[in-house]
Amino acid sequence: MQTGGKAGENLFTDITVSAGIHWKHTSGESKDRFLIESMGSGVALSDFDQDGLLDIFLVAGGETPGAKNAAPPRNALYRNLGGGRFEDISAKAGIARLPFYGMGVAAADYDNDGFPDLYITGYPSSGLYHNNGDGTFTDVTAKAGVSNAGRWGASAAWIDYDGDGRLDLFVANYAKFSFDGPQHCSYQVEPTYCAQTAYEGEPPRLYHNNGDGTFTDVTANAGLAKLVGRALGVIAIDVDGDGWPDLFVARDASPNLLLINKHNGTFEDAAMSAEVALNMDGNARAGMGVDAGDVTGNGWPALVVTNFNDEQHALFVHPGKFPFEDRTALSGLARLTKFFVGWGAQFLDYDNDGNLDLVLVNGHINEVIERTRRDVSYREPPLLLHNDGRGNFESMAQLAGPVFQRGFRGRGLAVGDLDNDGKPDVVFTCLNDSPVLLRNSVMDAGSWIGFQLQGTRSNRDAIGAKVIVSSGGRKLVRWITSGGSYLSSRDKRLIFGLGRNAAEQVQVEIHWPSGNVQTVLGLAPGRYHTILEQR
């Protein structure tokens, strides 16, 4: 089996320091052991200044009553200067501070003005920051009506659920929480974070984009208000192939949700009949991160969900109709992830062989775990898993680079091409620590072709588009998704690995969210193509 790497090379290189990344997450860790301290924060990769280079936004975290800092926590907006260097411009951009404890981030151009905006989730509210296009952001939360007040927002996803060409907003809410009266749990006499089941869940929120800078809370109308649970991850993707975007929500000790878009402003949860709600024992797992992608080459999106140790990170393969097949064990994921607590996860074709591989980060929440058992650690290594094209995964730890052999308290993760070389890079966040920037250093990666789609009738970011590339007798299917991973937001460009025997010219078929189908022929590999939606 081709292993996607050669002995002696590091597939990924840690460039955090050389890139000039000096920021650290603030968890507010305290003796009170508020659960929010253990959850970490997210990262968004987006070209905020539209200079063609992917920038990095990192969410601050926050303080807790027992842990105040002299210098309050701040977000970081690292502008990509090119050449592997970044500069923090968050203060200049007016986006350094949050009026709430920051958790997740979803980047997208909600007003179709050409500049990606930011929705930052947190507790006890969330915020929408409009990209003014001049290097600054404005807090438009109140005007927009998307504060998600009183709730603990985790991941968020932009989704044009009603097909009107404007991105609406789905917020995955986690649990009822307060800084008053902390829950107290311990192992022997040492304070620990309580299990998530000590906290009641919340329903999600769906905001409809009215097109005038305001949103309307349509949660109840959409049939979502009754879906109480502890939601952490969400991805917007068309799972039933009807051209309308659906939502998969990973929930923590609550059944996952598979919200099927009914085309009339409502959603129906099909997770039970699709068999993606629970594990095989009928138990809800600690679903944190999620991603979707075609891992078997059958043209349908599989789902990966990260879970707690002993629960295994799940892989649900879509056979073309419901139910999904739980291939956690068969794929190798069970064996590879059994002892890890997983968070951010994303599919990526790191070696451009045309098969979607998987990168994910891990890290436990309680240090005492190492006293209760020998096979689970507090700091855990990230995983780079190579896909053989049939949805079977193998660990690339030995070749991936030193980062994959060290332990971290990994949380958010986003994939994006930071240096525009056609090979996806990775950024992940760490609890109360610096993030890690990994440059893809694969030496003999396959050929590739990249796309930046721009909607006209569809939302400008083309979120929800399905793209099919035909090359060398293969058909590769990818989607532009929103949400995904954990608390994070990936590069919206698509990279298709074409392997070693790529044709000189490539055909692409785009199924736009508007319903348009556009075919473009004769595209040269080895570069990005910007494709405008035909009206």
């Binding site: 089941t197 068999e275 095989m280 024992d281 009928g282 139910p323 069970a334 059994k338 209760t372 058992r373």
Partner: protein
């Protein structure tokens, strides 16, 4: 005094009062008279001493021998009593009192056939001998001839009026011939006319054994006023409450015992298991810790602590607890608990060796095979899976009532694309335990693959109801 010593006391006093004292030897007679006085004052020790002197002076006097045997019997010295009473009967085989006492002594010694033979002799010569009839009823109860016992005891109401233990034996006999209401009436009568903490306790035990937990609960509670072993009593109350389905009351009783520092090791174990079953594992562990301090040499307490630690995933602690339990008392439960904890703690080689050893030691214990099979399934390798299948099937061969192996085998078949085989395992498992939500969930997946959508939805509904009930139970007991 033995449990039924007071029967002797009543018989003995009667006997001594009615008996002509030794005539032949005046000094012996003086000792005998002193013995009577002592006995009437309840001073059995001195009564015995006087009678020994009397017997030493007049060893062939059957009356003296009978009296001494009676006193010894009242003191619980049944073996020596038997010696003197046997001599008395040999010397005077026609003396019904001597033979009756001998029979009573033999009954208490558990020599039921000998007792019955003597009582049959007595009743052949005098069918109206009520004491003998009563004793034969008691013997029959011990011999598990419950129908006969009930008839005999019912026929001597005068004697029964003074014999609280007789009512207990009668109730036990009624339970065993499925006359539950009569049993309850007998016990109610007992408590109404001869209230007595000791007997209430006995009655409670009899009701427990018969599965009449509510009656047991009432009887045990009524013993609170005078039963000397409060710890034991509180445990029995809690156990009866638990079996009667009064779980909250049972927990309360046991918690009060714990707080008052009088919980028995069994009480701690029951409390911990109840709390853990409700999902209050943290609380259960705290109490298990107290139990381990109070009863450091109890293998059961340590095994229970280990099982809770296992559930909380404190695997290293579970290994330590089970190892201590196994060191104190080897058992299949401790062995498989220890091996499971070792496996979960990451000591897989040690665990595998421990399981293999447990199989050698307890080759017919299905739980060992079941536990070993279950952990091997976590291994994901084809060899482990094959071995797991063999172990799980062996567990079923040893104990066809097990649910867990069927569930695991069903999942294996389903994953292998054999839904029909999976269905067979699961439907049988559900017959054995309808209330396990996992089984219904698994069956819904099987039906879906068989194209039985309506059945799949039914099973999903059942699963959701059961799951909601499980979670509500856990929430109400943090």
């Amino acid at each position: 005094m033995g449990s039924y010593a007071h029967i002797f006391f009543a018989l003995g006093l009667t006997m001594m009062g009615a008996r002509a004292l030794a005539q032949q030897e005046p000094v012996a007679q003086q000792h005998a008279e002193k013995a009577v006085q002592f006995a009437q004052q309840g001073d059995l020790k001195n009564a015995e001493s006087e009678l020994r002197k009397a017997v030493a002076l007049s060893p062939g006097d059957a009356n003296l021998l009978t009296s001494l045997g009676g006193i010894l019997g009242m003191e619980g010295n049944l073996q020596e009593a038997n010696t003197f009473l046997s001599k008395a009967v040999k010397l005077n085989p026609q003396d019904p009192a001597a033979r009756r006492n001998l029979a009573a002594n033999q009954w208490q010694l558990g020599r039921l056939k000998q007792a019955r033979d003597n009582l049959d002799l007595l009743l052949r010569s005098n069918p109206q001998d009520k004491l003998a009839t009563f004793l034969l009823g008691m013997v029959s109860e011990k011999e598990k001839a419950y129908s006969r016992s009930a008839k005999l005891l019912e026929s001597v109401p005068d004697v029964m009026a003074q014999q609280p233990d007789g009512w207990v034996a009668l109730a036990n006999s009624y339970y065993h011939v499925s006359e539950t209401e009569k049993a309850r009436s007998a016990l109610q009568h007992l408590m109404g006319s001869l209230p007595n903490a000791r007997v209430a306790f006995l009655g409670g035990q009899v009701s427990m054994e018969a599965g009449d937990y509510s009656t047991a609960e009432t009887l045990f509670r009524s013993a609170r006023s005078g039963y000397p072993d409060r710890s034991r009593l509180e445990f029995e109350i809690a156990r009866a409450e638990y079996r009667a389905g009064h779980v909250t009351e049972s927990e309360k009783t046991l918690l009060e015992s714990v707080e008052a520092n009088r919980a028995t090791s069994d009480g701690y174990v029951l409390l911990c298991r109840m709390l853990s079953a409700e999902g209050s594992d943290v609380r259960a562990l705290r109490i298990a810790g107290q139990a381990a301090q109070a009863y450091p040499d109890s293998a059961e307490v340590l095994s229970t602590k280990g099982s809770i630690e296992l559930k909380l995933q404190y695997f290293n602690d579970a290994v330590a607890s089970y190892e201590k339990a196994a060191a104190l008392k080897e058992s299949a439960e401790a062995a498989q608990g220890r091996a499971t904890a070792q496996w979960k703690a990451g000591m897989r080689d040690r665990a595998a060796a421990a399981f293999e050893e447990a199989i050698q030691k307890y080759p017919r214990d299905a739980q060992v095979y079941q536990a070993y099979g279950a952990v091997l399934l976590e291994d994901e390798s084809p060899q482990s899976k094959q071995k797991a299948i063999e172990l799980l099937k062996r567990a079923l061969t040893l104990d066809d009532s097990l649910v867990e192996p069927r569930y695991e085998l069903a999942n294996i078949e389903l994953a292998a694309g054999n839904p029909e085989q999976a269905r067979s395992y699961l439907e049988r498992a559900i017959q054995l335990n309808r209330n396990d939500s996992r089984l219904h969930f698994a069956l819904s997946r099987v039906y879906r693959r068989l194209g039985r959508e309506a059945d799949a939805n039914n099973e999903t509904d059942l699963y959701q109801k059961l799951k909601a009930a499980e979670q509500a139970g856990a929430r109400s007991n943090p």
